[in-house]
Amino acid sequence: MHKIQELGGDDVNRVLMKVRNVKTYFPVEKGMFRKKSAMVHAVDDISFDIYEGETLAIVGESGCGKSTLGRTLLRLLDATEGEAYFEDQNIFELTSKELRQLRKQMQIIFQDPFASLNPRMKVTDIIGEPLVTHESMNKKEKDERVAELMEVVGLRKTYGNRYPHMFSGGQRQRIGIARALALNPKFVVCDEPVSALDVSIQSQIINLLQKLQEQKQLTYLFISHDLNVVRYFSDRIGVMFVGKIMELGPTNEVYDHPLHPYTKFLVAAAPVPDPHERSKEKLILEGEIPSPINPPSGCRFHTRCPYVQDRCKSQEPELKQIEGRMVACHYPLV
């Protein structure tokens, strides 16, 4: 058994998942002939803990690796290096049989309600697939359980024999949630679950996720680029930038007193739905997001950082504990 070092955070809660030095790289496939010329450093040496019952949000802009991280932790993608323990089992070392058993415990809810349901399957079969796969249920038991699940997520149970295209985006997302919850998992990765939805539907789904978390004591890894939703929904937040975690801590503290310059500018960039805030001088980050194929030397953020020093260009900062948070910056904004 490995000795796993505890990472900062609330010691009262039980750790559900420990992520240690995880790296996920992909070869770049170029053109028709797949010349493997370079690697995408999608997730590059990431460590953190997830506590039971919490919502840990991972935020970041496109290409920061947040979705890859979520999929790696579910072993939908293979990690290049590192360890991830789910209740002391290293997920990356499980055999495919053990993994299949573990899948009952950890599930995922997807972003696109149109792509995440098989268009050729009836809703009963979509929600019932996990049951059929893992539990020897007869048809009647399965139908009963599916009806129950549909009711839980706010769908009329008589619609079980309809196909996904007969539902709206919000309803499809509910179907996806019912499917993910069918086996009573402990841990659910929510990959941008409300990003594709309209504002008025978005709040319905957020409420549903929150209700289910309270009823079923779920632990969420909530992946999102929407800083408004994350602030409302998460307990703790990890800010990712080009494959690395820049800052990790309790949500409200991170929003109100960011320690990493990137966090500060990211939070400031989100448009605030209040015209009175206009008068405030807006902090704007210049430049482009660097490519994860060839990340900048030193601190990955140094090309955009307004507070950059020489040291940032050559020496990569480690994720250190500062004021009860983890920050990867040589010159945090204390």
Binding site: E61, S62, S168, G170, Q171, D198, V199, S200, I201, Q202, S203, Q204, I206, N207, Q210, K211, H225, L227, N228, V229, V230, R231, Y232, F233, N252, Y255, D256, F265, L266, V267, A268, A269, A270, P271, V272, P273, D274, P275, H276, E277, R278, K282, I284, L285, E286, E288, I289
Partner: protein
Amino acid sequence: MNDASTILEINNLKTYFYTDKGVVPAVDDISIKVKKGQIIGIVGESGCGKSMTSLSIMQLIAPPGKIAGGEILFQNKNLVGISKAEMRSLRGNELSMIFQEPMTSLNPVYPVGKQVAETLLLHNKHMKKAEAKQKVIEMFKMVGIPEPEERYRVFPHQLSGGLRQRVMIAMALICRSKLLIADEPTTALDVTIEAQILKLMKNLQEEIDTSIIMITHNLGIVAEMCDYVYVMYAGKIMEQADVYELFDHPKHPYTEGLLKSIPRSNVQQNKEKGLYSIKGMVPNMLNLPKGCRFHPRCIYAEDACREVEPDLVDVGEGHLVRCIKYKN
């Protein structure tokens, strides 16, 4: 009514889609006014008709869609029924547009500089190519594209989303258009890039003195950018007001619901009660509910709401509401 400061005036515009399954009133009798130098916001959820409004102004509605009525007065000239040649001379010149998807809105097989120069050459018949190129490079500088000379020659797939949107903006403003229609210009972009583009648009608007119609679903963008706002729902304008008035005193239950249901990044919110949410979903445009379109989702709905469609009522100071609760 038509004072000189009004650049665009839409009166009772109807854009209908004649599909196999029936007529879809995508834009159903809307009136909008844009003054010189103003930034107008049109907000609404998907399918509310906000994009169709913009395409109607550009006269780019494709069959089975058709402008079924109303007038679009651009600098006092009605664009509905105008000759194709006349419309072409306005497009890209005095009236221009940027789109949601910078990834697909540029032609993949031509260098971006050439695509911007094309707009310039189309509207300035005697301009030399070298001169056009010079102007494009100047414009690239203005919209903050680094190394503009090199970027003139690159193809769209070699640029990031943010840079492509800057190219689109350069293309739209190269002829110093009087009115820029921006249809969800930052929806496909990352937050930090979105902030850059919004700031750029605001700066350019002041510099070039153009008017902007900002079409978006994001109330944050409206609050940051717009002077006056129209809220659309199922093809109709539900409420219109000055931006401060709208956010401080929303009158329509839909606007009120929208504002309450968005989580905010700048304040800590109480999670215990849950987020406010509007029940139900957007109605079917082929089979709209009788009476007020919003009544099936409205918590205040009364019997009268199910019968009569309310008018847009002026409640003072340019604030108009389409709700039975308000009368002249």
